[in-house]
């Protein structure tokens, strides 16, 4: 990236911190470093990570960081929280051309959300109420406690899945996104049928892979209010039942036992104090 960018006027380096489609997390620090060398802004998509995995905008000096309300924040879908550095604010003031979109033009939207409170467009008031409460819940728990809860629940899920003989799409644990676990569909198993049974028999929704990965792996999200011990055990129990019904050979009860064991060995999650 360094080599490719040399001699070019690179305005920004952009990446997804958590790539939802594959369950992969990417370390931010090296990208900030290369962006610095190129004199570029750093833009980070934290849709799948904010509140579930450390993002730490100021610590990483992220220039533009945006997320989504419906992932680890557990507010309804419909908004994208965004934060923009002072450096970007200055660049916006100095723009020579208007921003291509009227609705998403930060130079004018900020007049509504900024000191002026000058009307720009009508925002989703009821969703903002919901977001307010969801953020209160996140901060009451504390970010560190939330990150630890997300980590523990994924660990238990993985322990359970592996005890059932299943494998993960992301082989290197360091690359695994805590909030989304991509589980390889065992050979001979109809992935869509399993998801259908989970939904219709147990009211549990999980996702397939996207595009070329649709028949390759399932994606199990454990984010925000959904990331709870009871849900992990419920999912493992339901999945085991369905797979046994479909004729798969797996040690009954092994998934639940492994998950329960993972929790027993985990440090108790401390009551978070917001710093």
């Amino acid at each position: 990236m360094r080599r490719a960018g040399q001699g070019r006027k690179i305005k920004f380096v952009g990446l997804a911190h958590g790539e939802t489609s594959t369950g992969v997390v990417t370390n931010l620090a090296p990208f900030r470093k290369v962006a610095d060398e190129l004199g570029a802004l750093l833009i980070v998509d934290s849709v799948a990570t904010l509140a579930g995995v450390p993002v730490e905008v100021d610590r990483h000096r992220i220039d533009i960081c945006f997320s989504g309300t419906q992932k680890a924040i557990s507010a309804p879908p419909g908004m994208s929280p965004i934060t923009v550095s002072a450096r970007v604010e200055e660049l916006l003031l100095k723009r020579k051309t208007p921003v291509q979109s009227w609705y998403f033009d930060l130079t004018t939207v900020m007049k509504y959300w900024g000191r002026d409170r000058t009307y720009h467009h009508t925002p989703p008031v009821s969703l903002i109420y919901a977001l307010h409460e969801a953020l209160r819940i996140v901060l009451e728990e504390g970010l560190e406690a939330s990150w630890e809860r997300h980590r523990q629940n994924q660990m238990a899920l993985i322990a359970g899945l592996e005890a059932m003989g299943m494998s993960l799409f992301v082989q290197n644990p360091a690359d695994r996104l805590t909030t989304v676990t991509a589980v390889n569909i065992p050979s001979g198993v109809d992935g869509a049928k399993v998801r259908g049974r989970l939904l219709n028999d147990f009211n549990i929704e999980i996702s397939s892979g996207l595009g070329e990965f649709k028949t390759k792996f399932w994606r199990v999200g454990l984010m925000g209010y959904s990331s709870q011990r009871g849900n992990v055990l419920l999912f493992l129990g339901a999945l085991e039942r369905i797979l046994l019904d479909l004729g798969m050979k797996l040690p009954a009860g092994a998934g639940l036992a492994a998950a329960a064991n993972a929790y027993a060995n985990a440090e108790p999650v401390p009551v978070g104090q917001e710093k």
Binding site: A4, R8, K9, K11, V13, G14, L15, A16, E19, T20, T26, L41, I43, D45, V47, A48, A51, V57, I64, T69, K71, S74, P76, P77, G78, M79, S80, I82, T83, L91, R95, T97, Y103, F104, L106, V109, G114, R117, H121, T122, P123, S126, I128, A130, H132, E133, L135, I137, F169, N172, D175, L199, N203, E205, I206, G211, G221, S226, N231, F235
Partner: protein, 140 residues
């Protein structure tokens, strides 16, 4: 087809997908609170509180912090089009659908960009660039 005039009765689901996640009852209650106008002084004061909570969750002191009035993909759009002006180039690191979406948004601005594909767990994702000559593709 069911009668669209029928009462709304969604099933109760446990959502273990990559989003949306389940909501706490507290969030449902908050969402049903009485609506006020978006330029009502009460609401504009309330907005400041929401912005402050967002700063704490982002762990930033950035003044320009707020919720865009559309979902995550609007965040991609906003970030890219506000950062770029004609003549700028961008580097987008693509390792899946959503990072690729950022590259597509850049592509639609007409500005030049370099895309880096990061193989996911040993599998490289093959994609073609719709605007030949505009992008340089390399494997990371």
């Amino acid at each position: 087809m069911s009668d669209p005039m029928e009462e709304l009765r969604p099933p109760t689901r446990l959502m273990l997908t990559p989003g949306p996640s389940c909501l706490s009852p507290r969030v449902y209650r908050a969402m049903a609170a009485p609506l006020v106008g978006h330029v009502d002084p009460w609401f504009t004061e309330f907005m400041s509180g929401v912005q402050e909570l967002l700063r704490r969750v982002f762990q930033t002191a950035n003044h320009t912090t707020f919720p865009i009035s559309a979902s995550g993909s609007a965040g991609i759009e906003t970030a890219v089009i506000n950062a770029l002006e004609p003549g700028d180039e961008a580097v987008v690191c693509v390792n899946g659908v959503f990072s690729e979406r950022m590259a597509e948004v850049v592509e639609r601005t007409g500005q030049r960009f370099i895309v880096f594909w990061r193989p996911s767990a040993g599998l490289s994702i093959q994609r073609t660039c719709a605007v030949p000559g505009r992008a340089v593709r390399s494997s990371l």
